[in-house]
Symmetry: D2
Subunit: 106 residues, 4 copies
């Protein structure tokens, strides 16, 4: 399974790009994959093909009216079918031994 | 104000690096800055000096026993004193018009 | 056209991952796309589908013996068919007005 | 020693940000540290403090007229005083066993 965290935005569309991020989130939510939006990107969980297909659909959603698009992607693949989008955070919280902001207990 | 999202981990310490991430989270939580842990990194909010000082302290916390360390950082600076670690997510959720995973309503 | 810069490496294979990077470079060179290896990654130029297919083939080349793989990707899409893998660097060098390390004149 | 690869650009300044990249390269070249400009960023080599100080000076160079700035940073720390900005590339090229684009022989 793959956790893919990405941030995609147009250049040349001014300082505020939230409408374009919203368009991507429509695509992500429609994918059926598990995801988490956070302040610096969105994490999607699935197989390699699935998560990269979501990134590509976001790109296709922006391309019609965006002549330049930047994207930054972090990928963490781990063999097996274990889902980790919540468990990674909880495991760190357990190791620290008290609630963390963003953790399961917060 | 700056939002800095980063992921730091040692190489050569095996596949599971959660104990090192936990060590970083101790440093981050002790900084007094607002932060959010997520499955692919941690976002810290503050002035440029403050957020980069936290990254450096995490590095110093790993260095004694880690001979190779990788780090990936995404920075979003916006002029002014407005805090955005929660508002960016809520703004996207408002634009989409329904609850998003990771959003304020979830 | 898309410039995609990426760094991919296994976790849990020790501190030195150059053999895995070399395996990826075999894949990249075989793709027929223009590319540049540098000390912190490799940049590949092509259409969106083409450059991401190369990243996926690198992943497939590592997967048989790597149970955890990290990857970081930076993407710069610009509408049109203009190739930029060399021209972006030269343009910056012209603006600075003297040779830069990594620039066309160095 | 640390290899730090980064890409910094303003948002809200239009599609073409080369003048801002050029301003950063002036700062980087003036630092005295070894560096390489490439089409998707610039890699700087030095101690942790030194390379992050360069990133901060680039930020300070853009801040007067840029109200929003994005930055993406990849860091590779390895214990010891060995410089790697050229040797990492050459080592991969040796492992592949033929010239690579961007490699020492190209």
């Amino acid at each position: 399974m793959v956790l893919l965290d990405f941030s995609m935005s147009p250049m040349g569309k001014g300082e505020s790009v939230a409408p374009y991020v919203a368009r991507c989130l429509e695509v992500i939510a429609a994918s059926g994959l598990d995801y988490r939006l956070h302040s610096m990107g969105t994490t999607v969980e699935g197989e390699w093909d699935q998560v990269f297909a979501v990134v590509q659909r976001c790109f296709e959603a922006l391309r019609p009216d965006c002549d330049r698009i930047s994207c930054n992607i972090r990928v963490d693949y781990r063999k097996g079918n274990v889902r980790r989008i919540e468990s990674k955070v909880k495991h760190v919280e357990e190791l620290v031994g008290r609630p963390l902001k963003g953790g399961g207990a917060s």
